[in-house]
């Protein structure tokens, strides 16, 4: 079933949050891509541009102390959950002021203080860690929900199967969000998966499965809201499949035109989640174009500041090479 209807209307505060976070992610990724394309050596980066509605629609349905687990393509999840873009950018620059003191880089950004338990490039593993945070919520009775993002590529790994089954039998407060962006590196979803909708697998685990347009933030929010409420009531997990698209290659070094067409890319860009959101909220008179423009300007300045912060921050002391290998005694 494809959820398209939007009701009830999210609060003004939440709508502003959605636009703010989607545009902040886009600005972060596009500015970062320009820096990388002109020589900034940050290792592998997997840009989230195009998929913003998935992370933001989901995180808009979460509370600040809820958890998320992520994938290799995690910048968007981090920003949507509230990780500060300054230490995020500093992390990419390998600076000691980074979220991970420069020891993690793009593929390991983590900020437990805002409920972000890890960008994780061993695909599918984030879903198992969500089982752990789900168990924590249950044992500690703190009412926290976990949203666990994974890609359609990772849906083929055993870890995801084990996680969906464990979450279902233990009725854990988890929302699984499958970001189907159509390509695992260059492998198309039609090749890797024999069914049309990955959400159909949910039935096999004994949980609801929902397909939603992943380029429509309001639609993602609505299904996520229902799933989060269900999880918080102790009724167990939900699997949401978001049909979406990444605008750039798999990683910073990848040329996607080698395996997909300009026409296909244009089809998805015409349905861009930020453009659509603007039309939806201004068209219905919920937010004004002027206040959205103000958010654009603020976020552009924030990324300027993040880049400046990253550039000016110190590198790690060389002694950091062997610190924090073991967790120190309390």
């Amino acid at each position: 079933m494809v959820a398209t209807e939007v009701r009830p209307t999210p609060t003004r505060e939440r709508l502003l949050f959605m636009y703010d976070r989607m545009t902040l992610i886009r600005e972060f990724e596009e500015r970062l891509k320009r820096l990388v394309d002109t020589g900034l050596p940050i290792g592998a980066a997997h840009y989230y541009s195009g998929e913003e509605a998935v992370a933001v629609g989901t995180c808009a349905a979460l509370e600040p102390n809820d958890w998320i687990s992520s994938t290799h393509r995690g910048h968007g999840h981090c920003i949507a959950k509230g990780v500060d873009v300054r230490p995020m950018m500093a992390e990419l620059y390998g600076k000691v002021t980074g979220t991970n003191r420069g020891k993690g880089g793009s593929m390991h950004i983590t900020d437990i203080s805002v409920g972000m338990i890890g960008v994780n490039p061993i695909l599918g593993m984030g879903t198992t860690h969500a089982i752990g945070s789900g168990l924590s919520a249950k044992v500690l009775k703190n009412g926290r929900v976990t949203a666990s993002f994974y890609g359609e590529g990772a849906s083929s790994i055993g870890a995801v199967h084990e996680s969906l089954n464990l979450a279902a039998i233990w009725k854990l407060p988890i929302v699984f969000v499958c970001e189907n962006n159509r390509y695992a590196q260059s492998t198309p979803v039609e090749y890797a998966i024999a069914i049309e909708n990955i959400a159909d697998r949910a039935q096999g685990y004994g949980m609801p499965g929902v397909v939603v347009d992943g380029q429509d933030c309001l639609a993602v929010y609505e299904v996520a809201r229902v799933a989060v409420q269900r999880a918080r009531r102790g009724e167990g997990p939900t699997l949401i499949e978001c049909k979406t698209y990444r605008y750039h290659g798999h990683a910073s070094s990848d040329d996607p035109r080698r395996y997909r067409t300009a026409e296909e890319e244009q089809y998805y860009r015409d349905r861009d989640c930020i453009k659509r959101f603007r039309e939806q909220v201004t068209g219905r008179g919920l937010l004004s174009a002027a206040e959205l423009d103000q958010i654009d300007a603020r976020n552009s300045a924030l990324i300027d500041e993040a880049i400046k912060f990253a550039e000016e921050s110190p590198l790690p002391d060389l002694a950091e090479l062997t610190t924090d290998v073991y967790v120190p005694e309390r």
Partner: protein, 347 residues
């Protein structure tokens, strides 16, 4: 206050460590297959393989903290990792070390590296408890004859991973102390239980909780002629060999390694500085083994103290066989250790 003369088996000692710690700290949970005896039953009590390893836990702590898992090692070890990051202190029971193949990523890429990768900002108070080793001379009912996929030692592939602590207790006393230390450690610790020692050895164990330092080897027998460095059950073999050697007038010192990572090089080097000879005894296969790692470290840092080549005594370069006649000659014995001492002295 130390209680007198109460004897426990190795397995009972570890179980007591878990029970005492779970009473003290409500954030400790246990995950594993059959740990609650098959959840959902009216009077759950562990059975089968887990009967001795978890007796009484489900009755005392209930299914919310003693969590039966389906066959999903990658999933439930990963759940342990996620739980450890979010406020719990999980003990994951991985019944056999042989099963690390299906959850190795969780151990080597997730649990071991998380704290370092996150710049020291993420705790990982995770214990993985597992068993290793062949059981020569025992019947199939008691764990012998389990062949190549349920009898391995292979702990070197855990010790190799930076960030992971790996302990190999050898007596009920040190098993309890090291298990409590592992549970209280804020980082990931693998506790390895030898199957042969598990049910077969009894010794005095104080009733109260106590810790023993992770990362400390122990000299368990003094001698001036040769250092026998043992790991796990092999420490027992070294002690037996030392008895046999004493009858010939050779005084062997025995070092019980106890922790594979981080390794206590200093205690081993200090012993070698007095005996000038080293034999390392390891139940694992030889290539890239702890035995050769220890030998390499002593050659690196203590070469000047040696007056003969270091010898390593290990299992052969082969998987563990099924047939009892073959399994019985697989792991080192006191006789093969004595033979190595003789060979070294002929140098």
């Amino acid at each position: 206050m130390v209680t007198t003369s109460r004897e426990l088996t190795f397995t009972q000692a570890i179980l007591e460590a878990i029970r005492l710690e779970m009473r003290r700290d409500p954030t400790i949970i246990m995950l594993g297959e059959d740990v609650a005896g098959g959840a959902g039953r009216e009077k759950p009590e562990p059975e089968g393989w887990f009967a001795a390893r978890g007796r009484g836990l489900i009755a005392e702590f209930g299914p919310e903290r003693i969590i039966d898992c389906p066959i999903a090692e990658m999933g439930f070890v990963g759940a342990g990792v996620g739980a450890a990051m979010t406020g719990l202190r999980p003990i994951v029971d991985l019944s056999f070390i042989d099963l690390i193949g299906v959850c190795y990523d969780q151990i080597i890429n997730q649990a071991a590296k998380m704290h370092y990768m996150m710049g020291g900002k993420v705790p990982m108070p995770l214990v993985i408890r597992t068993t290793y080793g062949s059981r020569p001379g025992s019947t199939q009912k008691h764990g012998g004859g389990a062949a190549a996929q349920h009898s391995q030692t292979i702990y070197s592939v855990l010790a190799h991973i930076s960030g992971l602590k790996v302990v190999v207790p050898t007596t009920p006393y040190n098993a309890k102390g090291l298990m409590i230390s592992a549970i209280r450690d804020d980082g990931p610790v693998v506790v390895l239980e030898n199957k042969f020692l598990g049910l077969g050895s009894r010794s005095h164990v104080p009733e109260e909780a106590y810790t023993l330092p992770i990362g400390k080897a122990e000299i368990v027998r003094s001698g001036r002629d040769v250092t026998l460095c043992g790991i796990g059950r092999m420490t027992r073999m070294c002690l037996d060999a030392a008895d046999a050697l004493a009858a010939e007038g050779i005084e062997a010192e025995v070092v019980d390694v106890l922790t594979l990572a981080p390794l206590d090089e200093d205690t081993i080097l200090e012993s070698v500085s007095r005996t000038h000879k080293l034999i390392v005894v390891d139940e694992d296969t030889p290539t890239a083994s702890m035995a050769r790692d220890i030998a390499g470290r002593v050659a690196d840092r203590g070469f000047g103290d040696l007056d003969a080549p270091i010898k390593t005594v290990t299992s052969p370069e082969a998987p563990v066989p099924f047939a009892a006649v073959l399994e019985q000659i697989y792991a080192p014995s006191s006789a093969t250790i004595v033979a190595a001492v003789h060979e070294q002295r002929r140098w």
